[in-house]
Structures are given as C-alpha cells and as structure tokens.
Amino acid sequence: MRVDSIALKNMARRPSKSFFIVLGIMLAVGAIVTMYTAVNSMHMEFADRFDEIGANIMVVPKTQEFTLSYGGVSIRGSSDLTYLVNDDVVRINTIPNSDNIATVAPKLLAPLDVMGRKLVVVGVDFPQELALKPWWDYQGNTPRGVMDVLLGADTARILGLAPGDPLVIAGEEFRVTGVLHPQGSEEDGLIFMQLLAVQRLAGLEDKLSLIEVAAYCTTCPIEEIVADINDAIHYAQATALGEAVQARAQVVDSFTNFTYAVAAVVFFIGSMLVLVTMIGSVKERTREIGIFRALGFRQSSIMEIFLTEALVLGVIGGILGYGAGVLAARILAPVIAGIEVAVEPNPILGGSTIILAIALSLLASAYPAVKAAKLDPVEAMRHI
C-alpha cells in the first residue's frame, strides 16, 4: 500500500463525500465555461451570420440627387445622373479589409414601364440579395434567372398578379416567380429583377445606382471598412448604417457584462462550496490524521493523502464541469441571443477548465490539510 492509495480508497469507499466536492467544483468551473462559451459562440455567430442580419454599409455615387427612394436612397430628378459601375463590386471585394465583408449586393433602380404604369424596378443580384435579406419570405419560387421577377406585396396586389403569371416590362415578357409577403417598407411597392435585365431594359449597361454591403469586423470598427471603400472608389460615398447589427451587438455586449458578473458570483459560490466541504471533510478526519501521525506518518505524507484526493476530485470536477458548462451554453446561448448558435467544444478552454478546477480543489484543501497535519497527534485524536 502506498500513501496515495489511502486517498483513492477513501474516495472509492465513501463516494458521497467526494460527490459534494465534485459538485462544488463542477458548479464553479461549469459557470465559467457556460458563460464564456455562450458569449464567445454568440460573438462568432454574429460574425458568421452578418449577411443574414442586413447591410450596414451603403455605397452611392457622390453627386446623385434623389427623388425616388429605395432604402433611404432615391433616384430620378437630376439631369446629370451619375452611377456606380459593375467593377465597383470587384473594387469593394478587394479592399484591405475585404476579409470582413460578407455580402456585396449591387443594385440599379430604374423607372420602367410595367403593364402601362411607370414603376420602380430594382435590378439586383438575386443570390447576393437573398443572402442579405434572409428574413424575406415569399410566395412562389426563388427567383434566379434573367426572366424571373419578384414582386413587392403592394405591387402584386395593384397589378393583380400571382406567382406564375406572365408580366410585360418595357415591352418584354417576364414571369412572376414570387411575391414577397408584406414587409412594411418601400420594398412592398417595388419590382425586383436580375440586374443584367434591368441594365439592358433601362439602357444603363454596366451602371449601378447603389451597392449595399454587409460587413462584420470583430476586431476593427466598421468605419475602417467604410474608409477603405471611399478610398477604393473616389466618386462614391460609402456610409455606415447597420443600427440593427449594432443593436444586437449591444445586446450581446450588455449580456457579456451580465454573464461575467453572474459567472463571478457562481464561481465564488462554487469555490466556497468546495472550501467549506474540504474544511468539513478535513475536520471530520482530524482524528484520522491524529492516528496517521501516531503511526509515524510525516506531515508531508498527510498532505500527500489530502492533496491526492483534491487532485483526483479536481480532475473529475473539471471534466464534468466543462461538459456541463458546454451543455448549458448550448441551451442558454440561443435563448439569449435569439438566433441559432452553434456551440462547439474548445480543447483549449477544456484544458484550462481542468487546470482551473485542479487549482481550485488544491487551494481549497491546502489550508485545512496544512492545519490538520500540524496538529499535535494527541490533540487530533481527541477530536471527535
């Protein structure tokens, strides 16, 4: 028999005592893991899903005057209309901060003759547009090709059109692929078509009215991306919008502060639980320590018994605490963030958690163990 096997036998044969210490460690480190993982995953998720949240940069030509509006940007009314060009999309995609750009959605707004009426037709790149506006839901099929038309809810109602119906625009026949559900915005009164088709019908080949950009930068301010775009296209005016994202990011930020506070409190409670249980366990075993001392065990051997226990319980508590923390984060993060959040296990966090648990367990048992080992054997044995 070795000294450390005494510790192992105690844990194996009195599992209920060990259970409470493991529980305390689990609680302490689990709280940290939960909060850290949840917050981290939410930040990542916001970055990954920026294109689903909407544009936060609007790029327009500098000298444009506005009367017809789309998304706060208007067309018509100026005799010397200026435009962006198709290549500007490439320019935006190659700015120094291009890694942080999720979606670039070019648009051409043109008043065209639609079944005898002058209506605003928006030429868009459908895949980019749909990526930018994941909240769009529509009746019918997903528009893809140059023959496809997506109608705003009001437009469809006024024109009396439904998905599948033919539609004549500027003398050419197209097909209504889908009808947007009411959005409560000017989109309800618009007609969306492939960019190339609108450029041709309006006689504005290669021209763009505006470019919407969805960017997310966790490490740099959005202003940097805006400045990059302004540098890249000297005749364009890029403006940061993105209140939606900033609002959500603010929610995450305030949640972050809140969770850190909660994590600190839970960690403190868990540590106290470990400390109190350890002190209790050592006190209860003071007589036992006296017996060991009487039998000739050195103080260092007594310490070895208690610290072996603390080490084993720390490892178990750390592993369980990490697992429980990740699980809790999986449940908590989507509820708080309001979006699906993928919580992936993180080996570095896992490793640090186990080290933290061991440190906590060793620290909590060191004090009572040193105190007990220093007791006079006779004093210790008298203890009940």
């Binding site: 028999m1 070795r2 000294v3 096997s5 005494i6 036998k9 105690n10 044969r13 009195r14 007589r287 036992e288 017996i291 060991f292 001392r293 009487a294 039998l295 000739g296 065990f297 050195r298 103080q299 260092s300 051997s301 006079d376 054997p377 006779v378 044995m381």
Partner: protein, 230 residues
C-alpha cells in the same frame, strides 16, 4: 544508564491551560522502563496515566523534562523526525481502536508499512502474518464496521506490531470490551511480551494486572507507588 533500560523519563512536568486555570497534569515524573517489561500504569481517572503514556510515546511534548528512549532524547527531535522515530520504535493500541473506517482489516494493518519502502507484496505478507498471529487470518478483507469489538482490538494490535517495533503502548486496551474478550486480549499481550516486546499499558482494571510484570500506581499526576509482580 542501566543497560536494560529502554525508556527513561526524567522530571516529566505537564501543564495545560483549562480556561483561565493552569492545570498540572503531571508533576515531575521519574520512570525507567526496561527492555522486555510489561508495565501497567494504574490509577483513577484524571491521575495523569494516559497523559504519561502519550508523553512516553513521543506523541505529546511535556512542558519540561525529557524522555530518553534507546539513548535518544525524543523531544529534542523535530516533529517530523519524531514521526519517523515513532514509526521505527513504537506501536500504539488505543481504547477506541482508532481503525480507519474505510480501510479493510489487512489495509489497516498495512498502514504503518505504507510509509516504508517495502513493496506491496511484502507489506501484504507481513500484514497477513500478524493478522494470523492475532487470530484474524480469515477476516482480512472486512471493514472495521464488519468486525466485533474484540476483533477490531486485534486488528489494532496487529497494526501496532506489524512493523516489529520494540515498544507497544496500549491505552485501556480492554476498556471497550466484555470481560471474556478482555481476558483474551490480555493473554495476547502476554504472549507478545513473552516474545520480547516491551509493553506499557494504561488500565484501571485490576484484573488486567494478573498479566503484567510491574505496576506503577498514579494519583494526581504523581507516582504513588509501584509493585513488581513477576
């Protein structure tokens, strides 16, 4: 010092604080114990016999005075060295047995060997041998709560002698046992003493004196008298 003297207690004074009062537990004890003796410390409760036992057993530093065992002044040793000294020289049998509840009989007996460098199988053999000797060879793997009082006492004795120390200290070894079992235990001690073990035993049971070689009578922290029985 006499060649056969194993333990020499010189002017042992022990005072302790009880509330605001200072109590003298031992008032200058002089005692020599020879090799191979079976000595009983007799006396009423509070006479200081258990305190003397723990002081002789290197467990409890006296307020003044010294204990010389085998020419070593034990209280001049550091606390850790004294632990080593106990491990090498002494075994203890306590009234409440003081077995470790989560260790089996054989593991309890192996405890003093756990701090030695002996390999596991050697420790196990030694523990089995002494458990056989005290008549518990068939209950090696029982936990203390699965053993009777007499059996627990035997485990405690086995634990005290497994390391083959020259001295065993026993504090009221029959105090928690019925008369018949008490007699069996005393016979066991007598047998061990016959094999050369020096035994110092605290008791207040006069019947136990039939088995010892010398009795020292104590009262109020001093030695009142002594009797050589064999």
């Amino acid at each position: 010092m006499d060649k056969t003297t194993l333990i020499n207690a010189i002017k042992i004074l022990k005072k302790y604080q009880s509330g605001s009062e200072q109590v003298t537990a031992l008032g200058g004890i002089e005692l020599k114990v020879g090799k191979g003796e079976f000595l009983a410390l007799m006396g009423p409760s509070g006479s200081g016999k258990s305190t003397l036992l723990t002081i002789l057993g290197a467990l409890n530093p006296p307020t003044s005075g010294s204990v010389i065992i085998d020419d070593i002044d034990v209280y001049k040793l550091s606390s850790e060295r004294r632990a080593d000294f106990r491990s090498a020289y002494m075994g203890f049998v306590f009234q409440q047995f003081h077995l470790i509840s989560y260790l089996t009989a054989v593991e309890n007996v192996m405890l003093p060997l756990a701090i030695s460098n002996k390999p596991h199988h050697e420790q196990l053999n030694m523990a089995k041998q002494v458990l056989d000797k005290v008549g518990l060879g068939n209950k090696l793997n029982r936990l203390p709560n699965q053993l009777s009082g007499g059996e627990q006492e035997r485990v405690a004795i086995a634990r005290a002698i497994v390391n083959e120390p020259p001295i065993v200290f026993a504090d009221e070894p029959t105090g928690a046992l019925d008369v018949k079992t008490g007699i069996e235990i005393m016979k066991l001690f007598q047998q061990l003493n016959g094999e050369g073990l020096t035994i110092i035993m605290v008791t207040h049971n006069p019947e136990n004196l039939d088995y010892v070689k010398r009795t020292v009578y104590m009262r109020d922290g001093i030695i009142e008298g002594e009797q050589q029985l064999s």
